[in-house]
């Protein structure tokens, strides 16, 4: 659990204020609580407004956290991604086969089982017609394919493994399905491994009659088949890819899917160096000294971090909506507190006559406002936290544009989100309570009692 330093200062301020108010306040805290209980309807309605605002903030932040989780966690610090020079995105990159052979033999690229740790990849986005699309829903979806030469090497480089029962696609990359006869001219099915997110998405296309036989109710699983580009595609395995951009990808043999969809070159090479320092050295070499091919290289972490443009835009939108809604909530709590003061004018007069100072009355009303705000806010955080772990579709993209990557993200309610919710509710409560509290201290005791 890591708390952002940017939240620590306001947190310290709120905690300090709360402690100060309780320490300085001479009016018993129980008096405030009893007043809130007596006016329970108003208290409840005001707290519910806080609950909704904070719950919404929590859900929206969980969505943005999920997006940041994808871009921040997808890279390996020892990996270097190589694209063709000028390519704004993998999809626009073209690397020749000869370049790959040259680059993977660089001394900084580590070897495994005698093979260089180089993932040769062709990333492409294709249109997949959706069979039996329900009315009002799109008839096609964009499917992200990654053509791979050696799935075992690529999986090691990207730190991915398969769920039990799965296997990487074979060297041929195709397999004859039991019901299809090669003699009758049926093309063999293309073997694929699926990211978990896209396996879930593709399972929506299952017909009702296929459901009883499905090994996994929530996603396509090993042995199932889907259609794309006039071919059948057989699921050989499902990757444990949650939380990475690979979660929404379909991996297959590059030499089959490249020509099928008109991508005759690699789009990217991912080279694994011994560690972060070696990776940085390799990146610099490729960017500054390597002249045999026009390439650009980035540390894989930098590449995925560069895909956070949409995240930032969504974050700004979330903050904007939350702040505007919070302002609406502030007006609500102001109404409540003004009403509380007008109903307790005589109480205030008595308190003043009993010797309580103006500022002590101000503190008392602020505490009351804070209690409403924090109770509503904490309930909102709890309600919003229910979305933790939900999955959602989105896009991540870089500032340079391009198509971006279609991703399945896992919504994440972290400590910072909860803290932000608590701080916002406290801020709303203090802002909403301050003006009424100030007005309460301006009452003259005798006038108040009249």
């Amino acid at each position: 659990m890591v708390i952002s330093p940017a939240l620590l200062i306001p947190l310290a301020a709120v905690l300090g204020l709360a402690v100060l108010l309780v320490r300085l306040g001479r009016i018993p805290f129980g008096y405030n609580v009893r007043n809130l209980v007596v006016r329970w309807k108003t208290t409840l309605v005001t707290a519910l407004a806080f609950t909704l605002v904070i719950a919404l903030l929590t859900v929206m932040m969980a969505f943005v956290n999920g997006m940041y989780g994808l871009t921040d966690n997808s890279g390996n610090p020892a990996n270097v991604i190589v694209l063709s020079e000028g390519a704004t995105d993998e999809v626009f990159s073209n690397l020749q086969f000869t370049d790959a052979g040259e680059l993977e033999n660089h001394p900084d690229v580590v070897r495994w089982d005698g093979r260089p740790m180089c993932s040769r990849e062709a990333y492409l986005v294709v249109n997949q017609p959706i069979p039996d699309a329900p009315p009002g829903r799109p008839k096609r979806r964009f499917l992200q394919l990654r053509g791979i030469d050696d799935p075992e090497i690529s999986a090691r480089i990207h730190g991915l493994s398969l769920y039990d029962g799965g296997q990487w696609f074979s060297t041929a990359g195709v397999r004859q399905l039991p019901g299809d006869s090669a003699d009758a001219g049926a093309a063999p099915a293309i073997e694929v491994v699926l990211g978990e997110g896209i396996a879930r998405e593709l399972s929506r296309d299952r017909r009702a009659e296929a459901m009883p036989a499905a090994r996994h109710g929530q996603r396509l699983d090993v042995g199932e088949v889907f259609a794309l580009g006039n071919r059948k595609w057989l699921v050989a395995g499902v990757m444990k890819s949650a939380g990475s951009t690979f979660d929404s990808e379909v991996w297959a043999k590059r030499s089959i899917i490249g020509p099928m969809f008109g991508k005759e070159t690699y789009t990217s090479l991912v080279l694994q160096a011994g560690d972060g320092a070696a990776a940085a050295r390799l990146k610099d070499f490729l960017n500054l000294e390597y002249k045999k091919a026009a390439v650009q290289s980035l540390l894989e972490e930098e590449y995925f971090a560069s895909l956070s443009q949409t995240n930032r835009q969504f974050l700004v939108a979330v903050i904007f909506v939350a702040v505007v809604m919070a302002i609406g909530g502030v007006f609500g709590v102001m109404n409540t507190m003004f009403a509380a003061i007008s109903q307790r004018t005589k109480d205030i007069g008595v308190l003043r006559l009993l010797g309580f100072a103006r500022w002590q009355i101000l503190v008392s009303f602020l505490i009351e406002s804070l209690v409403i705000g924090l109770a509503g806010g904490l309930l909102g955080c709890a309600l919003g936290s229910l979305c933790d772990g939900w999955t959602a579709n989105s896009i991540v993209s870089s500032p340079q544009g391009g198509t971006g990557k279609f991703v399945v993200l896992v919504m994440d309610v972290d400590a910072n989100t909860v803290l932000l919710g608590v701080l916002l509710s406290a801020g709303m409560a203090v802002l909403g309570g301050l003006l009424p509290a100030v007005s309460s201290v301006r009452l003259r005791p005798l006038e108040a009692l009249r």
């Binding site: 809604m325 007006f331 003004f338």
Partner: protein, 414 residues
């Protein structure tokens, strides 16, 4: 009328409370108007039309679509090759050229993606540019005429001009990003009227094609993208029947086999693209907007409840004076509805003017839409939201107000 005067007097009696409730309503109607403006635009973009609509021809399988330019002429004719074949009413080709004015330090600000097309099609084929106010239309027509005379012309949206720090009449050199080594020397011949095209750039397709030819002459080999330069073709058709016939002509034509192409309505294409945002749009529609409306109802309900509680004696007096329960209910409801409707109207009007004319639209990153504008019907939304939330928020307090028991209230006072 007397009732209305009484309602207004009651609202004015506690100005602070009325103002706070009104401000709360204004703020929350503002957010809900923004959300609904985005959703209604997306819904409209995805809604299939039956008359005078556009279809898109793109590569069948791959994204981004990259077709040979040789497809352009026949696709613009809807692949009509036989007597009796139907042709689209109009057409437009798009080629995307990405460039930067600073190749050494490329940023979002100094880069742009331009649509290379036939400039004469801008006013007939691009949404909203065919129905511009006369002044804007005249200025754009002038820019188009200049571009037709000077194929090195470029028309830019105002945000793009600002980010490049350029003005109409100045020249820029774009260094190719996707078309490597294809650098274009351009003169800014005009700008788009303030609209969804604030971030758009359009160049003459002939200049791009000529530059690709020049590359081949200089290097002795075609540019790597020379046979993939056509990204999409727009076709305007009068009705769904024509669309079906044109689609059949295109899909059965042997001319488009490598790569194969598809023809779909613009609405269908947009819907596919927006599928990636499905959950975000769902959240905006079914979580965000309802939560705002409920919050607004709570704020109004709170204010009206307080008001009713404070006025128990007065309500009892009204009953003694002969007011019927339904009249008291109407009185309390009327206060809430007047505040709700008035604030909703003010908020929607202010949102409409501020977003459309001051801020130049909502810059929200959904798909390829640069900015979203507040439609005129949003003013009706504001009134409706104010009305409905005020009714929901005040019905319970108003009901309790009309049930005030005179004897109980006076017993307490005594």
């Amino acid at each position: 009328m007397r009732f209305l005067v009484l309602i207004i007097k009651n609202i004015r009696r506690n100005l602070v409370r009325s103002a706070l409730t009104s401000l709360g309503t204004i703020v929350l109607v503002f957010v809900v108007t923004l959300v609904w403006a985005i959703l209604s635009f997306l819904d409209a973009a995805m809604a299939e039309k039956s008359q005078d609509f556009k279809g898109i021809v793109t590569e069948r399988w791959r994204l981004p679509s990259q077709m040979p330019f040789a497809y352009a002429a026949s696709l613009c004719a809807g692949a009509a090759s036989q007597p009796g074949d139907v042709r689209p009413d109009d057409s437009m080709t798009w080629q995307f050229y990405g460039g930067t004015v600073d190749p050494d330090k490329r940023t979002r600000e100094n880069s742009l993606f331009a649509i290379a097309t036939d400039p004469s099609k801008l006013r007939t084929m691009m949404d909203e540019l065919d129905s511009l106010p006369p002044d804007d239309a005249a200025r754009l027509d002038e820019a188009i005429a200049k571009m037709q005379q000077n194929r090195q012309g470029i028309i830019l949206g105002k945000d793009r001009l600002a980010s490049l720090n350029k003005r109409v009449g100045e020249r820029i050199k774009l260094y190719g990003i996707n078309y490597r080594d294809i650098d274009l020397e351009l003169e800014i011949v005009g700008s788009f009227p303030e609209s969804r095209y604030d971030n758009t750039a359009v160049i003459h397709r002939d200049y791009l094609l000529a530059s690709l030819d020049a590359y081949e002459r200089q290097t002795g080999k075609p540019h790597p993208l020379a046979d993939k330069t056509l990204n999409l073709v727009w076709l305007r058709v009068p009705d769904t029947e024509t669309f079906g016939k044109v689609a059949n002509q295109i899909l059965t034509s042997p001319s488009y086999s490598s790569p194969a192409v598809k023809f779909e309505t613009a609405a269908s294409g947009i819907a596919t693209f927006l599928e990636a945002y499905r959950d975000l749009i769902w959240g905006m529609r079914w979580l965000l907007a309802p939560a705002i409306l409920i919050t607004l109802s709570l704020v109004i309900s709170n204010a009206i409840s307080i008001s009713v509680r404070e006025r128990q004696t007065e309500l009892a007096v009204l009953k003694v004076l002969g007011f019927r329960p339904w009249q008291i209910l109407t009185l309390v409801l009327g206060e809430a509805l007047l505040i709700g409707v008035g604030s909703g109207l003010c908020s929607a009007l202010a949102t409409f003017v501020t977003i459309n004319y001051v801020l130049g639209g909502i810059k929200f990153p959904i798909a390829f839409f640069g900015a979203f504008y507040i439609p005129a019907e949003a003013i009706l939304w504001g009134v409706s939201v104010g009305l409905v939330t005020a009714w929901i928020g005040s019905i319970v307090p108003a009901w309790s107000a009309q049930k005030v028991k005179v004897s109980e209230v006076f017993a307490k006072v005594a």
